[in-house]
C-alpha cells in the first residue's frame, strides 16, 4: 500500500468509521429493545426495521467505494435479509434479531479495525460464519428458493448495481426510498463527490506529465469510479453516465487501447468541470441533468476509440461488468474475492493485537501523524453554531473588561490584590477559550491550493509557457472566512504571475534561465499571522513601467525616482492600474490586483510585494489568525478613546523639542534616529479641539503601514487590551481612518483606528497630495470593519 493512497483515503475512512459507529450506536439499543418486546410477546415496530435496514444500506454504500470488502459483503447480506421483513414478505423471529445483533457486533469490530489499520481484513473466518448464518436465514425466509440467496463468496456489487433492485420494491410499496436517501446523505454525497473529482483532477494532471505512471491512472480511475458508484446509488443518471464514459476512456488509456495525447486529458478535465458544475448547481437546488450530455458522451466515445491499436467495441463497456472492475480498494493491487489465504494464517495474532500493531506503526516514523489523525474523535457541528460561539466569546471578552475595569473598583481604599489575581485567572481562561474557538474554525488550505494546480496548467498552456507549480505548507490551517476570501486573490495573483511575470521559453533561454518556470505557492505561520506567498522566478516587476503609469494617472508628483521600491510596488494594487501592454483574456484589465487588495483588506490583512528585476517577484499575503478579536492599544485624545491595532505600532515615545522640525506649511516632523516622520495630531484629524497643544504634554505613537511610518500624537496611553471588532452600522458606511469600533469595559463605544486610512487622511489634510481617483461608495453593511482599500503614494 503506498503512502499516497493511504493519505487520500484517510479522511474518507475516518468519516466512515465515525458515521458507522454512530449508526450502530443508534440501532443497537433498538434491536435490544425489540428483542425484549419479542420475549414479552409484543409486535415488531416496522420503523425499527427500516432504521436497521438504512444503517446496513448506508454502510454498504460507503464501504463499497472505500474498498472495505468484508464490511461491504456482510452489510449487503444483512440488508438482503432485512428487506424481506421490511417488505412484509417474511415474519421476523427472535433468532433473526439475535443474528442482527451479532452482525452489529461484528461490524463494530470491523469498524474498529478500520480505524486502527485502515482496512477490514483479517476476519475472514468470522466473516464467513456470519455470512453463512445470514445466507441460511435468507434461504429460510425465502422458503428454500435458494437461487436468489447470494452465496457468501459472491463479491458485493458496486452501489450502482445494488441500487436498482432495492429501488423497485420500495417504489411499488411507496414508503421506502425517501427514507433511504436522506438530506444528510445527499450532502455527504456532495462533499465526497467534490473531493473525488479533485482527486481525479490532480491525478490526471500528474498523469499528463508522466504518462507512463500507472499509479496516477489508477488513482484517477478509482476516483472516477467511486464517483460513478455514488452517483448511481443516488440515482443521478446523467452524472453516472458521463463519469462512466470518462472512466471508459481512462480504462482504455490505461490498457493502452486509446491514445493518451494532451487532447484526451483536456477533454477529461473538461468533463470533470462539467460534473463539478452540475454538482454545484444541484447544491443550489438545481436538478442533476447535464446539458449537452450526449455531446460530451460522444466526444468521450471518440476519445476512447482513438486507438493506437484496434479497440474492439465490446471492450468499451467493460467497466459495466463489476467483476472486471477492480474494486477501489486502498491497496493498489486488485483484491481477490476472498484474500483469506494469507490473512487467515495469522488471524488470531492480528486480531489480538491491533493496538500493539497500531502503536508500532505510530512509532515507525512518517505515518505517525496520519494514524493519530485517523483516530482523532470528532463531532460535526453546524457552522452557524460556530459563528454564534465566536460571537459569544467576543461578548465574553467585553464582559470581562467590564468587570476588570469596572469604575466601582476605583473607589479609594479598596484592597484589590485578590480581585486582581482572580481577574488574571479569568483573562487566561478567556484567552484559552478564544484560542480553542478560533482553532475550531480552522480549515487547511490544501483544497484551495490544489485547485491552483489546474489553473496553472491551463494558463501555462494558453500562454505557451512551461510552468511548474510547487505547493508548500498546504496543511496550514486558516479561518473559514479566509478560505472563502482567499481563492480569488490567489487566482488573480497566479494569473498575473504566469501572464506577465513569467517569460516564454525563448526569453528564458536568452536570459540564461532554465526553460521551465517555477511558481511557488507557500503558506506558513509567522507570529500571529498566516503568510501566503506566491513566488515566481520570472522577470520581476518593472519599476519604470509602474512609475510611468503612475505619472500618466497623476498619482505622483515629478518623476518619482526617489521613491523606494516599497512605495512603488503597492501601486499595482490601485484600481485600473495595469502595466500590461496588451489585454489578454487572462489579465491586464487592471481589475485583478484591485480585487486582491480588497479581499485581503476585508480580512484585515496586508499584501507585501517583493521583486527583483530579472529574478522574479513574490506577493506575500499577510493575514491575521483571528478575524474578530485583535490586540489593541487604547489611547486617549481629549475626551475620546481610540484603539490602535498593536500590530501596527512600532514604538511609543515622549517627543523632545530638539528633534522637532516644523515646515513653513505647518507640518511637524519628528526626527527618530535620523528618519524624519510626519506627525499627525489626532486632535486635529478628528476635530476634537486641543489645537496647538504642546507636544511634550502628550505622547507620540509611531505606526507603520506598508513600509511607511508616521507619528500619531495622543494625550495619553491608557493601556493594551484585547478588543472585539464590531462593524460600524451599515447606515454609517465607511469612515476614513476608522476600521470599526469596539465596546469598552465601561460600556462605551470606542473607534478602532485604521492605520492605512490614517495615512490617506493625513495626506489629504495636508493638501499636498492628490487623492486616488475615486473613493468607493459607502460600503455594504458588514464591510465597514475592513480597512480602507486605497493606497496613497507618498512622494
Amino acid at each position: 500500500m503506498t503512502g499516497q493512497d493511504r493519505e487520500e483515503h484517510l479522511e474518507l475512512l475516518h468519516g466512515f468509521v465515525e458515521e458507522g459507529l454512530e449508526m450502530l450506536e443508534e440501532v443497537e439499543p433498538q434491536l435490544v429493545e425489540m428483542e425484549k418486546e419479542f420475549a414479552g410477546g409484543g409486535a415488531v415496530d416496522p420503523d425499527v426495521v427500516h432504521g436497521i435496514f438504512r444503517l446496513f444500506h448506508s454502510l454498504k454504500g460507503s464501504a463499497g467505494y472505500l474498498g472495505l470488502e468484508t464490511i461491504s459483503r456482510v452489510t449487503h447480506q444483512a440488508e438482503t435479509l432485512l428487506d424481506f421483513f421490511r417488505r412484509g414478505v417474511a415474519v421476523l423471529r427472535s433468532d433473526h434479531i439475535d443474528l442482527m445483533i451479532r452482525t452489529c457486533d461484528f461490524l463494530r469490530q470491523l469498524l474498529e479495525n478500520v480505524e486502527m489499520r485502515r482496512h477490514d481484513q483479517g476476519f475472514e473466518s468470522e466473516a464467513r460464519g456470519i455470512l453463512e448464518d445470514l445466507g441460511r436465514a435468507i434461504a429460510a425466509v425465502q422458503g428454500g428458493a435458494a437461487e436468489e440467496a447470494p452465496r457468501p463468496e459472491v463479491p458485493v456489487a458496486t452501489e450502482a448495481q445494488a441500487a436498482p433492485p432495492e429501488a423497485s420494491p420500495e417504489a411499488s410499496e411507496g414508503d421506502g426510498l425517501q427514507l433511504v436517501i436522506t438530506g444528510d446523505m445527499v450532502q455527504q454525497f456532495q462533499a465526497e463527490s467534490q473531493e473525488l473529482l479533485e482527486q481525479a483532477e490532480e491525478a490526471l494532471l500528474n498523469l499528463e506529465k508522466d504518462i507512463s505512471n500507472a499509479e496516477h491512472v489508477g488513482r484517477a480511475f478509482r476516483a472516477l469510479h467511486s464517483f460513478k458508484g455514488n452517483a448511481g446509488l443516488f440515482g443521478y443518471a446523467d452524472l453516472e453516465r458521463l463519469s462512466h464514459q470518462a472512466e471508459t476512456v481512462l480504462e482504455n488509456v490505461k490498457e493502452g487501447r486509446a491514445a493518451a495525447g494532451s487532447e484526451v486529458f483536456s477533454l477529461l478535465l473538461e468533463v470533470l468541470d462539467v460534473l463539478r458544475s452540475t454538482l454545484v448547481r444541484m447544491a443550489q437546488g438545481g436538478d442533476s441533468a447535464i446539458p449537452g450530455l450526449l455531446g460530451w458522451i460522444s466526444l468521450l466515445q471518440e476519445a476512447a476509440a482513438t486507438a493506437p491499436v484496434d479497440a474492439p467495441p465490446a471492450e468499451v463497456s467493460t467497466p459495466e461488468i463489476p467483476a472486471a472492475v477492480p474494486p477501489p480498494v486502498l491497496d493498489a493491487a486488485p483484491v481477490d474475492a476472498l484474500p483469506a489465504a494469507e490473512s487467515e494464517a495469522t488471524p488470531a495474532a492480528e486480531y489480538s493485537g491491533p493496538e500493539r500493531r497500531a502503536s508500532q506503526e505510530r512509532r515507525s516514523g512518517g505515518d505517525r501523524r496520519k494514524d493519530e489523525a485517523l483516530q482523532r474523535q470528532s463531532v460535526r457541528v453546524d457552522v452557524d453554531k460556530l459563528d454564534t460561539l465566536l460571537d459569544l466569546v467576543g461578548e465574553l471578552v467585553i464582559a470581562e473588561a467590564m468587570v476588570a475595569q469596572n469604575p466601582d473598583l476605583k473607589t479609594a481604599g479598596l484592597s484589590l490584590d485578590r480581585f486582581d489575581r482572580a481577574v488574571m485567572h479569568l483573562e487566561k481562561i478567556s484567552r484559552d477559550l478564544q484560542d480553542v474557538v478560533t482553532s475550531m474554525r480552522m480549515i487547511p488550505l490544501s483544497g484551495t491550493f490544489r485547485r491552483m494546480i489546474r489553473l496553472v496548467r491551463d494558463l501555462a498552456q494558453k500562454a505557451g509557457k512551461k510552468v511548474e507549480l510547487e505547493i508548500i505548507g498546504e496543511e496550514t490551517e486558516v479561518d473559514k472566512t479566509v478560505i472563502e476570501q482567499i481563492n480569488d486573490p490567489l487566482v488573480h495573483l497566479i494569473r498575473n504571475a504566469i501572464d506577465h511575470g513569467l517569460e516564454t521559453p525563448a526569453e528564458r533561454a536568452a536570459a540564461g534561465k532554465p526553460e521551465v518556470c517555477r511558481v511557488f505557492l507557500e503558506a506558513k505561520y509567522v507570529g500571529s499571522e498566516v503568510w501566503i506567498t506566491i513566488r515566481d522566478d520570472g522577470r520581476g516587476l518593472n519599476r519604470e513601467k509602474i512609475l510611468a503609469k503612475a505619472r500618466e494617472r497623476e498619482l505622483i508628483a515629478g518623476d518619482g525616482p526617489d521613491l523606494s521600491d516599497e512605495q512603488v510596488w503597492p501601486m499595482i494594487f490601485l484600481p485600473g492600474f495595469s502595466t500590461a501592454d496588451r489585454i489578454t483574456d487572462v489579465s491586464g484589465r487592471g481589475v485583478g490586483m484591485d480585487v486582491v487588495k480588497r479581499n485581503i483588506d476585508n480580512l484585515r490583512g496586508r499584501v507585501e510585494v517583493r521583486s527583483r528585476q530579472g529574478e522574479g517577484a513574490s506577493m506575500i499575503l499577510r493575514l491575521p489568525l483571528t478575524l474578530a478579536i485583535i490586540d489593541g492599544m487604547v489611547v486617549r485624545v481629549e475626551r475620546a478613546r481610540y484603539i490602535i491595532p498593536t500590530i501596527s505600532i512600532q514604538e511609543t515615545l515622549q517627543p523632545e523639542d530638539c528633534y522637532l522640525t516644523r515646515t513653513m506649511d505647518g507640518q511637524e516632523l519628528l526626527n527618530i534616529r535620523g528618519k524624519l516622520l510626519p506627525i499627525v495630531r489626532l486632535h486635529e484629524l478628528f476635530h476634537l479641539g486641543g489645537a496647538g497643544r504642546d507636544l511634550s504634554r502628550g505622547l507620540i505613537i509611531v505606526v507603520e503601514n506598508e513600509g511607511r511610518s508616521l507619528c500619531l500624537f495622543v494625550d495619553e496611553l491608557i493601556g493594551q487590551q484585547q478588543v472585539v471588532i464590531k462593524g460600524l452600522s451599515g447606515y454609517i458606511g465607511e469612515l476614513p481612518g476608522v476600521s470599526g469600533c469596539t465596546i469598552m469595559g465601561d460600556g462605551e463605544v470606542s473607534l478602532i483606528l485604521d492605520v492605512a486610512g490614517l495615512f490617506n487622511l493625513a495626506q489629504g489634510n495636508e493638501g499636498s497630495q492628490r487623492r486616488p481617483a475615486a473613493l468607493p461608495p459607502p460600503r455594504r453593511r458588514g464591510q465597514a470593519e475592513s480597512e480602507a482599500m486605497h493606497i496613497q503614494i507618498q512622494a
Binding site: 467585553i398 462593524g727 460600524l728 452600522s729 454609517i732 458606511g733 469612515l735 469600533c741 462605551e748 463605544v749
Partner: protein, 171 residues
Amino acid sequence: MSEKDRLNEDLLEAQDQEDAQEGKYLTFALGREEYGIEIRHVTEIIGIQNVTDLPDMPNFIKGVINLRGKVIPVIDVRLRFAMAEREYDERTCIVVVNIRNAAVGLIVDSVSEVLDIPGDQIEPPPMVRKGQGSRYIEGLGHVGDTVKILLNISNLLHEEELEQISEAAVA
C-alpha cells in the same frame, strides 16, 4: 415609572397585536410640535446616553451608542430638520427604529404616547412648499383639536443623507 418605561410597555402591547399595528403611531415632541412615527418601525425607547463621536459626519449624525452589545448610530432629529440645537436633559429620549434591517436611534426632545390615528383622520402632506420639510412628512394626523406631523422614517434616514455621507467621504 418614567415616561419611556410606560411607553415601552405600551409599545410592546400594541406590537403584540400584529394586525392591530396599522394606524398606531408613537408620538414625540420637538419644540412645540408633536410628531408621529408608525410603531411598526419602533423597537424601543431609551434614555439619552453617552454618544461616541464619529469624525467627518454630517452634523445630525451624532455618533454611535452601545445598545446592549450592538453598536448603533444615532441621529439628532432636530438637527436633521435644521432646527436649533438644544441641550439634552432628563426628558431627552432615543427612539430606536429599525429600517431596512438597520437599527438607528433618533434623538427627540421627549416621547409622548402611542396613539391610534385612523386613515380618514390623516391628511396628505402639504403641497405648499417644495422645500426640505415635506419629503419627510407622510401626512398630517388629526387627534382631537391637535395635529401630529406623521413622519416618513425611511426618507428621514436615507436618501439625502446617504449622498451627504458619500460627499463627506469624498471631500
